[in-house]
Symmetry: C2
Amino acid sequence: MNGKAASGEAAQVATRNRLERGRGALGPALELVHTGRAPTRAVLTSELGVTRATAGAVAAELEALGLIRVEPGAAAGAQGRPSHRLVVADDGPVVLAAQVHADGYRAALVGLGGTIAATAPGCETIDADPAQILGSLVEAGVELLEQTGRRCVGAGLAVPSAVAEPEGQALNPLHLAWPVGAPVREIFAERVRAAGLAGPAFTGNDVNLAALAEHRHGAGRGSADLLCVATGHRGVGGALVLDGRLHTGSSGLALEVGHLTVNPEGRPCYCGSRGCLDVEADPLAFLTAAGRAPGPEVSLLKESRELLTHEYDDPAVRAAAAELIDRLGLGLAGLVNILNPDRIILGGLHRELLAADPERLRAVVADRSLWGRSGGVPILPCTLDHNSLVGAAELAWQPVLDDPLGALAG
Amino acid sequence: MNGKAASGEAAQVATRNRLERGRGALGPALELVHTGRAPTRAVLTSELGVTRATAGAVAAELEALGLIRVEPGAAAGAQGRPSHRLVVADDGPVVLAAQVHADGYRAALVGLGGTIAATAPGCETIDADPAQILGSLVEAGVELLEQTGRRCVGAGLAVPSAVAEPEGQALNPLHLAWPVGAPVREIFAERVRAAGLAGPAFTGNDVNLAALAEHRHGAGRGSADLLCVATGHRGVGGALVLDGRLHTGSSGLALEVGHLTVNPEGRPCYCGSRGCLDVEADPLAFLTAAGRAPGPEVSLLKESRELLTHEYDDPAVRAAAAELIDRLGLGLAGLVNILNPDRIILGGLHRELLAADPERLRAVVADRSLWGRSGGVPILPCTLDHNSLVGAAELAWQPVLDDPLGALAG
DNA sequence: TCATTTTGTGCCGACACTAAACAAACTCAG
DNA sequence: CTGAGTTTGTTTAGTGTCGGCACAAAATGA
C-alpha cells in the first residue's frame, strides 16, 4: 500500500462516515412527516430547529423524491398566510410487511405514515417449516406489488419469538413448532432477495415491533421511554422504546419479562422457578383460573376475550380477571422499578384486562412500585389494529428515514 | 411582533439548535482523549472517521483551549512516521467533585481523564442538615482551587439516594438522616453559585455515577450496555449505561433494583413484599446470615469485608457468603432477562462476594437467565478507587465534552 | 384599502469538512 | 549510509449545508 492509497483510504473512511450519518435534515424531516408531527412547513421549521429557507428546501427535496406532497389547500382560520400542508405521497414507495403469529400469518404493503396500502388474504394455519411460510409471505407480497404497481424499498417480518442479535435466529418460537434457533432473519432475507425485491429485509420480535408501531403512530406517540407488555397465546412479551429507538439489549434478548416472580406460591414454571409472569398472566392462566379448560383447537386469546366480554357477569370469570390483574400489576410494578418508563401500553389479553378493570390495575401498579411518582405512570391500551405488522414496516422504513437520499438511490 | 422580529426568532431557534448540537467534531474528539481511546492523532482520525486534516485541526483547537497537549516524544517501534501523543493537559481546568456516603463525605478536584488532581481531607460524620454538608463540601473545594490555582469549570455531587428528575430531590436518603425529598440538587447548585465557582452544578445517585465512571475509565470501558449493581450499607443499588449515557428513566428512578423478589420464603421487606434483593443481599443480610449481630457504631460494609477476607475459613461465614451469592445471582439473572446487558460490574460488598466465589455467582446467573447466550454475560469487579467521586466529576465534565468551545467560553 | 401577521423563497456568506498533493519522520534492506 | 517503503502531519483549494437577511405572497381585520 503506497502513500497515495493510504491517504485515499482515510478520505474514504471519512466519506463513508458522512454517508452513514445521513445528509443533513432530510431524514429528521421525513420522520416528522411520517409520524404526523409536521403537518405544515411552518411546524417543520420549528420542529427541526432550522430556518424557513432550509425547511422549504428539505420539503422540496422530499417531494422530488416522491415521498411526500405539498398541498396548497390549507385549513385557514388563523391569522397570517396559511401554510401548505405536508402529506405522505399516496403513490409513493411502500415496504413489504409480514407477520407470523400463533394462529396464522399475513402479508401487506405499508406506505409512509404507517398506512396499510394493500393486504393479502391471511392464512390460518402454520407450517412447521419456516422457509415454507416465509416463502409464501414473500410471494404474497410480490403479488400485491404487481397488482398495485408500487415501488418496494424494503421488507420487514414480525415473528412471535425472541430474535437473537445480530444473526437473527428465532430463539423461542414456542407455539409455532419451528425449530429452536431457526435463522429466520437469514431465511427471510434470502427469500426477499430471491424474489427480486429491492431493498433490505429485516426481522424482529412481534411485541417489539408492535411497540415501535404504537410509538410512531399509536398510543405511544411522543413518549421518550415507552414500555409495552402484551400476551397473545402463551407467555408474556415486553418491549422498550427509548428515544424513539427499540431497545433490544446487547443480543436482542432484552425485555424477556416472562420470568419475573409475581406469585411466590404460584405454579412451577419451565424456567425452574415458580409463579413467573409467563405462567401467571397469559391467556392459558386466565382460562385455567376461570375454570375453563381450553379446547385443543381454539385460540386461547379469542376464547379469553370471549369470556371477558360476554361472560364477565360470571363470578368465576370476574375473580379470574381480578387475579390476573393483580399478577400483571405486580409484574408491571417490578418493571416500573427497573425501567421507570413514562408510559405503559398493554396489548393482547392484557389490553382487555385493563379495559375490564382499569382502576384495579392502576392501583396495584402504584401500590407496588416504589414511589407514587413512578406509580403514577399512565397505563394505556394499544390503539393500532395491526401493530406488529405496521411495526415490521417501520423496521423496513428505518433506512429511508435515516437517509432518504441514500436509501432510495442505492 | 413584526415580520422582521418573527424572522429573527426563527433564525434564533436555528442558531440555538446548532449551538446545542455542539460544533463539529470537537466534542467527540475530546471525549476520545478523555476516555483514553485516542492516544495519537492517527487513531483520532480513524475513530472520528474524518480526514487527517480535520483531526489535526481539531487537536490543535483543543490544545489552544488548554484542554489537551500534543507531545512529540512518541514511543516508536512501528513503521512509518511516529505519531505525536495526545495527552490530557495536566494544568488544564478541573471540576469540583463531591460525594456523600453513609459514613462521611469528601471533596476533590478532578481533571480530564478522570484523574484526581487534589483531595480534601475527608470527614467521617454526617450532619442531619444537607445544606450544612453540601456547604462544607463546596468550601473544601474552594480551598483546593485556591491551593492549586486551577480553573474550575463545573461541579458534581454524588449522593446515596435516588435523585428525582428533573428537579433533583433526594427521594430515599435512607441512611443519612436527611429529610426525604430534600432538594439536594438545588441546594448544591445554590452553594456552588454562592461560592462564586464558575460552571454549572450537577447532582446524581452514587451508584449511577460510579457506573458512569467505570464506563469511562474503568472495567466498563467499551461497553454499549453496561449494568452495575452495588451495595454499600443498606439496600442494593443499580445503574445502567447505554451507549455511553446514563439511563435514569423518565423521572430518575430507573434501576431501583432492590425490590426484585429473590427469595419467595425470605424475610419481609418494607415495600410490603418479602424476599426482596434489598433485604436479602446487602451487608446487613450478610452479617445476619453469618450470625454476627452488627455493633451499633461500625460500618456494615467494613465489617462484612473483614469477615470475608479474614474469616472466610469459618463455615458460618462461608455459608452466609454462598447464600448471598445465590440471592444476588437470582437478582442479576432477573435483570439480565429484562435488560440483556453486555457486561455486569459489581461494587461494594457484591464485589467482594464475586471475588470470594466467582464461579458460583456466574453459574447461578447463567442458570437462571433465559439463554446461555445472555447467561454468558461477563461479570466483573469494579476497578476504580473512588468511582462515585470520579462519576460526579464526569457529570460536571459532560457539558465540556459535548461542546468544548461553548462550555469554556460561556 | 392598508396595516398586520404569518408563511414561502432567493441570494449571499460562514463554516466545517473533504480531497489531494506535498512534506516530514521513522524503519528496513542492502 | 542511502534510498525505498510506510505512516503521519500540513497546506491548499473546493464543496455542501445551513444561517442570516431581504423581499414576496397570502391571509385577517379595522
